[in-house]
């Protein structure tokens, strides 16, 4: 019997007590001695140049220390390359305070540093800056004919595969056809914690940089390159991140500002952005998509066309995989996919939860619903008839794919068979009731990652990796992995992250952390296990003298023989007997490419939704959601369920609420605050049921985990849109679905 099996258990978060008591420290909460405050001044114009900065009055205010702008920033790195972070797209990255040119509205143009936050804020408000403006372009609608195909500048971007079969001819020959456009506007991540950096200036000019980020190492590399700092000079620390959703994958400009000011003033500096300034950088891009589908008489897909055009900045070509999913989610031999960008005078878009898939699958899955109706088929039956057993983009089998089970288990739990397919056919009192469903697919990835473990003589295990915790449960899951592999109680394990002094790990994104860092922790524990066995064999009268590593197991705080568990040594005693204070090991884990390259690696989900719409008022409630997810092994059903619950809220938000509205006259977002950029509140959320479909997969990684942070969001916006059609007979193809579209 083992009491130290933790993987797969619904355990509470190990960082829970710190988070509920306020003890967890986020980037702008390290109150180091002698701290001064920087406040960012943002450009009110979208394009042009700064003609004058009059800082004299501001500098004369007692307590104001400096005004940084392009006029006085010292010579920094010359090359664009130095400003490129790990996940930068192709092009020329934005350089804060670099020159007089204004490239987008709310561009940071100056940093005012003062003794107090209040004074810095006031001084920033009275800093006189003159601009000369030139005409800007911010409307994607005017760029329909000007799309271009981007290069492969960004990590993870896969250009759409070339057409297969005869997509044009087969579309024309199809028995049923649909050809529609699908649109969503710009969306901003808006994590609850605003971007902030505390740069602690230490003796000798070294820095401890507490940064809000999804990757401490990415932040460190960025500032090292720009400011010419050594690894020792600039340690980046990020113990807790108050939400990321992709916004923290790239270093944001407050990091640059805080480091600049700290180095120049030789003081510790904090720079926090405002909620308004949270709309001044990356976002999910405004995207225009067309989907054309044709079916044969038997309901099989005859042809599929999917084209997307989205915005990017003038200076970088942001890319995401929008249309590729359409070539692999359903069986179809005649497929044409297209993907283009158009340049606008805005900041570069950025990965936002399930980037590309959230966009592309909204269009595809609404189109599939439209096609099902056109072909006279139940939307679920239509999907089952076109189920793909093979990834036709790659022409490879799936390493595992339990989407069919997601459909069946989800539909049963939801009660899909009670659905009357006719639109406007179901009612409850004065409410129109609609049932809708949709599918999701996301990559199961693993990246190179490292971890270090150290077992002390008192039996405590410290585990370190420079990964991040954005709320996904990394602290908890890594603690489970280490405790299980070394057979220790959870309380004996201290997993530490978010520090550039720890072994390297990738940015916390792509739903790959459990797979990547989890495997590294497992490997490090096994390396430590081998050392412990050797040490145990040196103990006097050791019962493990002749044992090989595969003969032993770590269980209940003991190292013992698998076949004769009575032959055991207490793990703590091994360290004590060794005479050392601790035993350490480290390891790096890489994806097994030889094993993986024969397969397509993906997680899937199926979402079923009920909406109720007041026919007269147009008010809409998502009353029930069932989200069935097949994402390999579920490390912790409690935290995984929370990930999917949150994903459903995100999908609902995308469907019904989120849109950053641009006033094209000024080239400026006008709802750049939490009161006008709507996200769901507690009262908007009703019954959500999360199902995990069992799925074993020893190809994706040794833990069999596919990642759960993004897949759960997919399908939700489309399922809601499809339910709205079922309830009302109105087919809406532009998100968000607000009351005006329902009346």
């Amino acid at each position: 019997m083992s009491n130290t099996n933790y993987i797969g258990k619904a355990l509470s978060r190990v960082d829970g007590p710190a988070k509920v008591t306020g003890a967890a420290k986020y980037a702008a909460e390290f109150n180091v001695p002698g701290l001064v405050y920087g406040y960012v001044v943002s450009s009110p114009v979208a394009k042009g140049k700064i003609t004058k900065i009059d800082a004299a009055e501001v500098l004369a205010l007692p307590g104001v220390l400096q005004v940084f702008s392009h006029e006085n920033v010292p010579m920094l790195a010359l090359l664009d390359r130095s400003y490129k972070d790990d996940v930068a797209p192709g092009g020329s990255p934005f350089r804060p305070l670099h020159d007089a040119e204004i490239k987008f509205s709310q561009q940071p143009v100056a940093l005012v540093v003062a003794d107090t936050f209040e004074l810095a804020r006031y001084a920033a408000s009275v800093l006189k800056i003159e601009y000369e403006t030139v005409a800007h372009e911010t409307d994607l609608e005017t760029k329909r004919g000007e799309g271009f195909e981007p290069g492969t500048g960004k990590t993870g971007f896969v250009p759409p595969p070339p057409p297969r079969g005869n997509p044009d001819k087969e579309f024309e020959n199809a028995v049923h056809r649909i050809d529609q456009e699908y649109v969503h506007g710009t969306q901003h991540h808006n994590p609850m914690e605003m971007f902030g950096t505390t740069a602690e200036y230490l003796d000798g000019g070294k820095l401890n940089v507490y940064d809000k980020t999804q990757g401490a190492l990415n932040s460190q590399r960025y500032i090292r390159q720009i400011f010419g700092l050594s690894k020792d000079d600039a340690r980046v620390i990020s113990k807790y991140t108050g939400g990321g959703f992709g916004s923290g994958l790239r270093p944001q400009y407050q990091l640059f500002m805080a480091v600049l000011a700290a180095l120049e003033l030789k003081k510790s500096v904090r720079v926090s952005l405002t909620r308004q300034q949270m709309f001044s950088f990356g976002h999910r891009p405004h995207t225009l998509q067309t989907v054309k589908l044709g079916t044969n008489a038997d309901g099989s897909l005859a042809a599929l066309h999917h084209h997307a055009l989205h915005e990017t900045s003038r200076f970088e070509d942001y890319t995401e995989n929008v249309v590729n999913w359409s070539g692999m989610l359903y069986q179809c031999d005649n497929v044409k996919l297209g993907y283009q960008l158009a340049k606008l005078d805005v900041y570069t878009p950025q990965d936002m939860r399930a980037p590309g898939a959230a966009t592309g699958l909204f269009a595809l899955e609404v189109a599939m619903d439209e096609m099902a109706y056109a072909a006279g088929l139940d939307p679920l039956e239509f999907r089952l008839r076109n189920y793909a057993d093979r990834d036709q983009n790659l022409d490879k089998p799936f390493s595992s794919k339990k989407l069919r089970e997601c459909y069946h288990e989800g539909a049963a739990k939801f009660g899909w068979e009670e659905r009357n397919p006719a639109p406007r056919s179901m009612r409850q009192g004065n409410m129109l009731v609609g049932y809708g469903m949709a599918t999701g697919v996301w990559d199961a990835s693993q990246q190179k990652a490292g971890a270090k473990v150290s077992l002390s003589a008192d039996g405590k295990l410290t585990v370190q990796s420079a990964t991040n915790e954005i709320g996904t449960g990394t602290y908890t899951i890594m603690t489970q992995v280490a405790a299980e592999y070394l057979g220790l109680p959870l309380e004996a394990v201290d997993f530490q992250l978010g520090d550039t002094d720890f072994p390297a790990a990738p940015v916390q994104g792509g739903s790959w952390t459990a797979a990547s860092v989890g495997t590294a922790v497992k490997n490090a524990c096994e390396a430590l296990g081998e050392k412990l066995l050797k040490l145990a064999q040196q103990m006097e009268g050791s019962p493990l003298k002749d044992a090989k590593f595969e003969d032993v197991e770590f269980v209940n705080g003991q190292l013992r023989l698998r076949l004769d568990p009575g032959q055991a040594v207490v793990v703590r005693d091994i360290v004590q007997a060794s005479g050392e204070t601790k035993v350490e090991a480290d390891a790096t884990a890489m994806p097994n490419l030889i094993k993986q390259k024969q397969y397509s690696l993906h997680a899937h989900n199926a979402v079923f939704v009920e909406v109720q719409i007041d026919e007269e008022l147009g008010t809409l409630h998502v009353t029930r959601v069932v989200n069935a997810v097949a994402a390999g092994r579920i490390m912790n059903p409690k935290t995984a369920r929370s990930q999917v619950l949150g994903s459903v809220v995100w999908g609902l938000s995308m469907a019904l609420m989120e849109e950053t509205v641009m006033d094209h006259q000024f080239g400026r977002y006008v709802n750049h605050n939490y009161a006008e950029y709507h996200i769901p509140v507690c009262a908007d959320i009703h019954d959500i049921d999360v199902l995990f479909v069992e799925e074993e997969d020893d190809i994706v990684n040794p833990l069999g985990v596919k990642g759960i942070g993004e897949v759960g969001m997919l399908g939700v916006a489309a399922a809601i849109t499809n339910a709205v059609y079922h309830a009302t007979g109105k087919r809406i193809r532009e998100l968000p679905i607000m009351i005006d579209k329902l009346l």
Partner: protein
């Protein structure tokens, strides 16, 4: 050629800087002396002057509820009040609710129900829930959801927040009856 349009930003300086003066706040049962200018919000006083960083800043405009604290038992947004306005009142922050060793029932319920992910809105949610309990109005799930809707959670933990708050509300109702 007409010149390109120009634009000037930056307000005029119309008044001298406000003076710093002593302010005494009673926070979590302790008198705390600080020297601040009157334009300092209660939120910044807590976070930047008293190192009570459990109270979070999510918008600074009363739009998100992350800075919710209790003043004389009532929940308020600490970003929408100046510290000097709260002299003589009883201020309770998340640090005064419970400790890691001795958790408040709401804190325990939030852990048990996994009512948070990133944790940034959590102190505000918990203080808000205590305020809601003090108000004594919310009894049903629908009422709790409505009256907890001033606290945003971008991770979308609402299902579990409701479960956690409901558990403690029902516990309190049982004790009362």
């Amino acid at each position: 050629m007409p010149e390109n349009p120009t634009h000037t930003s930056g307000a005029a300086i119309t008044a001298p800087l406000p003076p710093v003066s002593p302010v005494t706040l009673r926070i979590n049962g302790q008198e705390r002396q600080l020297h601040i200018a009157p334009w300092t919000t209660l939120l910044d006083a807590l976070r930047e002057y008293l190192d009570l960083t459990g109270t979070k800043k999510g918008c600074d405009h009363g739009q998100c509820g992350a800075c919710t604290v209790l003043v004389d038992g009532k929940r308020i947004n600490a970003c929408l009040t100046l510290a000097v306005m709260q002299e003589g009142r009883d201020i309770t922050t998340i640090e005064g609710m419970g400790t890691e060793e001795k958790l408040h029932p709401l804190q325990q319920a939030f852990i048990d129900h996994d009512a948070f992910q990133c944790g940034y809105c959590t102190p505000g949610q918990i203080c808000s829930a205590q305020g809601l309990i003090n108000e004594g109005k919310a009894k049903t799930a629908a009422e709790i959801k409505e009256l907890m809707s001033g606290n945003l959670c971008r991770c979308g933990a609402y299902t579990n927040i409701l479960a956690a708050v409901q558990e403690v509300v029902e516990m309190e109702l049982k004790i009362k009856n």
